[in-house]
């Protein structure tokens, strides 16, 4: 009786599970198939374990893309964390004339379509002589990560009790001292959110990379994947191996610290 009543619930849950999960299962199991198996047994799951596909992906030199993506994302995110925290301190805790307009100016960036900045950023990188280098990505990556980061950090800083700051002031701390010794240590959870959110977004960022990078050796992972599509167009299991390999770091991070990743990704949007 109870089971019959719950049957529709299980049906919905299962359908959703297939809808969200099956493409991953298909990707993983196809990446381990031989060409022949792929054509003959399209639905079979894990019928063979052909690691040669992965080997051929490595032969194409994926490490370069990984390295580029890691470098540019990590450097951009670390700079964002620092300068967004700096800016959030007066924006959330000090009275000055242009506080509100400045805050709104930063936050408005969340609504902005990237396309509206694309051509000038492209021209700018050319005139600065950094077009087609990883440096060209750094500026727009930092700038477009600022709105959400400042939003998260100001929300968080507003909750920190004023008394802490006053105590530090009496002890003779300067504003920078308060920021460095009192605020920053308390910001750790918010900075964690900022880090995860921006890192994942930059790791997957596509359009700036597409416009600002042209040489193969400077490509990030999303651009590199496109390359593979051209190279492997007939070798579908090989392509699936590349997709699996490139998605793996984020998936593994998620499976190991699910709560943190989810919280980080929803960071700016979830306020309760």
């Amino acid at each position: 009786m109870a089971l019959a009543r719950k049957f529709p619930l299980y049906m919905i849950a299962l359908l959703l599970l297939i809808f969200t999960g099956y493409p991953f299962l298909y990707m993983l199991s196809t990446s381990l198939k031989s060409q022949g198996d792929f054509f003959e047994k399209p639905f079979s799951l894990f019928s063979s374990f052909e690691f040669a596909n992965y080997a051929s992906v490595f032969e194409m030199g994926v490490s370069r893309y990984f390295l580029n993506s890691i470098m540019v994302s990590v450097v951009a995110v670390v700079i964002v964390m620092f300068i967004a925290a700096l800016a959030s301190y007066p924006l959330s805790r000090m009275n000055f004339k242009f506080n509100r307009p400045l805050f709104l100016l930063f936050i408005a960036g969340m609504m902005l379509p990237i396309h509206a900045t694309l051509i000038p950023v492209f021209k700018l990188s050319q005139s600065m002589g950094i077009y087609d280098t990883l440096w060209a990505l750094l500026g727009p990556y930092i700038a477009f990560s600022l709105p959400i980061s400042i939003f998260i950090l100001t929300q968080f800083m507003q909750e920190i009790p004023k008394s802490l700051e006053e105590a530090a002031k009496i002890d003779g701390c300067t504003h920078f001292g308060i920021f460095w010794r009192v605020m920053l240590p308390m910001l750790t959870p918010a900075l964690m959110t900022v880090f995860i959110y921006n890192f994942l977004h930059l790791w997957n960022e596509f359009i700036f990379a597409l416009v600002l990078i042209s040489s193969p050796e400077n490509r990030t992972i999303p651009l590199g994947l496109q390359d593979f599509y051209g190279e492997f167009s007939v070798n579908i299991p090989g392509l699936m191996a590349a997709l699996t390999l490139f998605s793996l770091p984020v998936l593994v991070a998620y499976l190991f610290s699910q709560e943190k990743v989810v919280k980080g990704l929803a960071g700016g949007s979830v306020k309760g």
Partner: protein, 314 residues
């Protein structure tokens, strides 16, 4: 004596205002030091480009030589450009799908995580997976699954006794196919928003309803939905604004084709700028995208503040 105290008072007052002024100046100085690095990067890469885009949009320009000034010519050309109108219409489709399919599906997924069934942990983990994959990877995976001959979806369609469908190269179904992928990728995001909102609903409300003899549907309708209204509203805002910016998945899966069937403002702008090198024309499209996003944001803000003034969501 009177005179003396008065003058002393004046001097003191002057000193106080001076000290205040100095403090204020110092304050402004500190504030600027804190904000300067972020503001500099933001002005250079976000604010300045918007003005530059508008400026470029007034020229006929290939991106390298000096352009010719055409005033608002690019905009009038744009209003007579059938492809632009198709792109705009397709953007509206993306918005509609996001609001009326993604958000309800996200809500259903979130509700399943609170259903009295087994396996919640598994559902919780798997439902979120699509949102973790990069858009390029998502696009390529689904291109392969939509493949007209070997794609798993057509294999399934065949085994059910139907004809093959050219999912991404048939004008009539391409938009539907890409939108399905958009739903797949982004519903988990709304699931997370709803999940954290549902956690925040006080259990006592349901207990009270239970005592009053409410059935599950009544509880859902008169407790869950009203209390989730703020989340539904903010999700819709995110969905609308996000849909106006849509680009990646469409660029990767169809490039706006076949025959413009999935063209968006974003893909059309990119094509004009970096394929045809009509930088002036592309800037006009880009500026219109900015302008539409601005108008939508203002409308949302006005509605929000009015709603807040009236109070409540019902």
């Amino acid at each position: 004596m009177d005179v003396q105290t008065e003058s002393v008072e004046i001097v003191q007052k002057k000193e106080i205002t001076k000290a205040k002024k100095a403090a204020r100046n110092k304050n402004i100085f500190t504030v600027s030091l804190f904000i300067a690095p972020a503001l500099f990067v933001y002005l250079l890469y976000v604010v300045y480009p918007i003005f530059a885009t508008f400026n470029y949009s007034l020229y006929n320009w290939d991106g390298t030589t000096v352009g010719t000034f055409v005033g608002l010519g690019n905009y009038t050309a744009l209003f007579n450009d059938a492809i632009f109108w198709t792109a705009l219409k397709n953007n509206v489709w993306v918005i509609a799908t996001s609001v009326f399919v993604q958000i309800p599906l996200g809500l259903i997924m979130a509700l399943m995580l609170f259903a009295p069934i087994r396996g919640i942990r598994l559902f919780n983990t798997v439902y979120f997976l699509p949102f973790l994959m990069s858009t390029v990877a998502v696009g390529m995976l689904w291109i392969l699954m939509f493949d007209p001959i070997n794609g798993i979806i057509n294999v399934l369609v065949n085994s059910l006794g139907f004809e093959n469908v050219s999912w991404l190269s048939d004008e009539n179904v391409a938009m539907f196919a890409v939108l399905l992928v958009v739903v797949w990728q982004f519903s988990p995001f709304y699931m997370i928003l709803f999940k954290s909102a549902i956690v925040g609903i006080p259990e006592e409300l349901y207990e009270a309803a239970q005592i009053d003899g409410a059935n599950p549907w009544q509880k859902f309708r008169s407790i869950t939905i009203p209390l989730l209204m703020p989340t539904i509203v903010s999700s819709s805002i995110l969905a609308i604004v996000g849909s106006l910016k849509a680009f990646d998945i469409f660029y990767i899966m169809t490039g706006g084709g076949p025959n413009g069937a999935t063209e968006l403002m974003g893909t059309y702008m990119f094509k004009q700028a970096f394929v045809n090198f009509n930088m002036g024309y592309a800037s006009a499209i880009a500026f219109l995208m900015f302008f539409i996003a601005l108008i939508v944001t203002i409308i949302i803000q006005v509605i929000e503040s009015r709603r807040k003034r009236v109070g409540g969501y019902e």
